[in-house]
């Protein structure tokens, strides 16, 4: 065995051990590395009980409304299984829309409403011209109509 084969073997073994270590570490940190919790996870009690955390999901269609004081907005965040009521005072980001992704940071109050200090819009990975999006939506609506018939 030449010296360079030995060195190669040493490096290969080292790297394999490193990969195994990293996999184990990231696996055990899995719950600490999430940026947000879904409403289902909150329901199950996986989110921190006290202090602030983030929830994420879709803004439920038709749930966005401005409260009578004119400053607070209220909307529901859903992961299609569970929903949560969120209250927020401030300016919503441009991409904030009903039916689109959202991440809100804040804490649960006594009556189970999530009081957000910050609302972030989470957009998806699809990029297309507006005409294509309109065509897709039209096709989807047509199909939905067909299905209900």
């Amino acid at each position: 065995m030449k010296a360079r084969h030995k060195r190669f073997g040493l490096i290969a073994v080292g790297l394999i051990l490193l990969v195994i270590a990293t996999v184990l570490i990231t696996k055990s940190f899995k719950s600490n590395l999430v940026f947000f919790f879904t409403p289902t996870q909150v329901e199950k009690g996986e989110a921190p009980k006290s202090g602030s955390f983030r929830i994420g999901g879709l803004v439920e269609n038709g749930s966005l409304k401005r409260l009578p004081d004119g400053l607070h907005v209220q909307f529901k965040v859903t992961d299609t299984a569970k929903t949560m009521l969120v209250e927020y005072k401030g300016i919503l980001p441009d991409l904030f829309k009903e039916g689109k992704g959202v991440v809100a940071e804040g804490k649960l109050n006594a009556i189970g409403v999530f009081e957000a200090d910050q609302v972030l819009a989470k957009h998806d990975e699809n990029y297309m011209p507006p005409e294509a999006a309109a065509a897709l939506k039209a096709a989807k609506d047509a199909k939905a109509k067909e299905d209900t018939k």
Partner: protein, 249 residues
């Protein structure tokens, strides 16, 4: 038979020697520069004038034509650097170490570009300049790894030891690259998933994709040009140092 073997292997490894690599690199550089300038101008033209607006992000999405290729090359160049560093450790080849040294600043630059353009994009789209989600944090760690790599190299006076120590750092840090790439899949992140991947059909309009790929090839040629220029400097610098040492200066 044996004679033939050595002959082919000598031909193959001819350019592994700095002496023969130096003029070859010199010949390649102008072509790469011309290609890089042409493709980046063409890519920006597609990105800024030809590509349509996006259905949800409007004009703001156009930052992807710089952001995504820069992020790709921040990761790809790191892997390339780690590969050369590993090759240097195994073969004790000087040129491999020099290549790794030459790649690091360009990789760090692309990482910084990806972070800064992403931040400029994040404010209007997400509503925050920076968030500590897994994708952004691991990309920031990548920048620190690059900086650590060339700081470590600069901190050790003995070139031989500096090469070896920084090569180990580069190899260990390589584990971060798959973490960056898969972070959006493994964890809940604010950053969206990959629009373009080898596993599935791209989730974007063809013109947009074309602009991004043209930019990526342009960045690739730019990287080759800059890295070759830097490795030529490195060869001259190290050889002049060795020459001075031999002369007792």
């Amino acid at each position: 038979m044996k004679n033939l073997d050595t002959k082919t292997s000598i031909n193959w490894l001819k350019y592994a020697s700095p002496k023969t690599f130096y003029p070859l690199a010199g010949k390649l550089i102008p072509w790469c520069v011309i290609g890089a300038v042409g493709l980046i101008v063409y890519g920006l033209y597609i990105g800024l004038f030809v590509a349509p607006t996006d259905f949800q992000q409007g004009e703001g999405y156009r930052i992807i034509f710089v952001h995504v290729p820069a992020a790709w090359f921040s990761m790809f160049l790191y892997l390339l650097m780690a590969m050369y560093a590993g090759l240097g450790l195994v073969l004790n080849a000087r040129l491999s170490y020099m290549m790794a040294t030459a790649i690091a600043p360009t990789g760090a630059m692309f990482t910084l570009v990806a972070l800064v353009t992403g931040s400029l994009w994040g404010k209007p789209m997400w509503g925050a300049w920076w968030v500590w989600d897994a994708r952004l944090t691991s990309e920031l760690i990548l920048l620190f790894l690059y900086i650590g790599y060339f700081s470590l190299q600069a901190a050790i006076d003995d070139k031989n030891r500096a090469d070896k120590a920084s090569a180990v750092l580069a190899l260990v840090g390589a584990i971060n690259v798959p973490i960056i790439y898969f972070s959006v899949k493994w964890w809940n992140t604010l950053h969206q998933g990959a629009s373009v991947s080898l596993m599935k059909a791209p989730a974007m309009a063809t013109v947009m994709l074309k602009g991004m790929l043209v930019m990526a090839i342009g960045f690739w040629l730019y990287s080759i040009a800059v890295i070759l220029i830097r490795v030529r400097c490195e060869i001259l610098e190290r050889d002049s140092k060795a020459a001075m040492f031999n002369l007792g200066l």
